[in-house]
Symmetry: C2
Subunit: 202 residues, 2 copies
DNA sequence: GTCTATAGGCTGATAGAC
DNA sequence: GTCTATCAGCCTATAGAC
């Protein structure tokens, strides 16, 4: 009797379809434009059907955030393998900013919409938020070990400031298309240069 | 016959009352919660009356942005008078971040809501946005002249990165109350230390 | 100028039939 | 499980009476 399994599978498929479509809609039109009705219509179900898989709209947002953050992590991953800290800084910065600008609406949902969602990412500790932050802490420690950053500054706030700086560049570019007149590349270049000077090889 | 003047005055008073109440509501509950109905009720007029003074909700938002940005400018002004560039950097940073955290909903409206509003601030060139930016450019030039920032970086992108960094700190603190675990003061301290080393008096 | 009334939409969420 | 129908509310904006 594999009928329970089949039902489970079908159920999971509907859930996945809801999420896939929700993601599409958010990417295209932003989270505000994601309504239960439009979502239902898009997957060709009635609005009520969605509530069998998600408690409410917030639950969908949370699932999308989790997914979005995993995409961000995946995007950063290759850069984490660069051994020279100063180069790793630049690679991570490029990857982070690239993600934000290429997926503006996802980025907005993750970091610029509701404190609730953003907080969730960082509260689920060891996964999403914590992992990414650890990447930055390690980077800062290596930068200091390799003489690119003053050791008189504490690594934790340094890593936080690093994140804040990148977030500032991304979010300003997103909410104010005309202000930072410099290209994204120039901004990242300038920011990373400020953060870490290239160590003089002795 | 001063009756036209009286009418003009009354008209201006109603307009001012609308803006005052709108500001209050935004400060208390955020821009999203500002609706024409609630606004009308609060000033004890009918919704239709508001449309005699403002074309639509967006026009109110623009007026509030202008006002908010002037408040920000006023808040920065004292710091601009500090002659030692490194100290001015710190004073400006404190003032900027202080404004953002004390008036979170105003800050959100100015810089984190709709690109349209934020863009307006910077397009009206010589006033609001441009003025503030000039303050930062002058700061960077002085920092370079006083040996606190490398002259190998261009002043314009440097000033933009400075703004982005401060914006990053404020907006992360606003949208993610738990993430930057460090205190605002520590973050600003760390950020300004990264931006400018204290020049060694020769 | 200010009102009432209303058009013409939208929303999240749920009860109850099948 | 899925639907239809609907509740109960919100919104911006405007027409037309006073």
């Amino acid at each position: 009797m594999g009928s329970t399994e089949r039902r489970e599978r079908q159920r999971a498929e509907v859930r996945a379809a809801i999420l896939r479509m929700a993601r599409d809609m958010v990417v295209r039109e932003g989270f505000e434009a994601l309504t239960m009705r439009k979502l239902a219509e898009a997957i060709e179900y009635s609005p009520a059907a969605i509530y069998l898989h998600f408690e409410n709209r917030d639950a969908i947002a949370r699932a999308l955030c989790l997914q979005g953050f995993e995409e961000l992590l995946a995007r950063l991953e290759p850069a984490t393998r660069e051994p020279v800290a100063a180069r790793r800084l630049r690679a991570l910065a490029d990857a982070y900013v690239g993600f934000g600008l290429e997926q503006p609406e996802t980025y907005r949902l993750l970091f610029m919409t509701d404190p609730k969602y953003t907080t969730d990412i960082f509260r689920s500790a060891e996964d999403a938020g914590g992992q990414t932050f650890q990447v930055l802490v390690r980077l800062v420690q290596d930068l200091q070990a390799q003489g690119a950053v003053s050791t008189s500054l504490a690594p934790l706030p340094l890593a936080e400031v690093l994140w804040a700086g990148l977030h500032g560049v991304v979010s300003l570019k997103l909410t104010c298309p005309i202000f930072p007149a410099s290209s994204t590349d120039t901004l990242v270049e300038t920011f990373t240069a400020l953060c870490a000077r290239i160590p003089t090889t002795p």
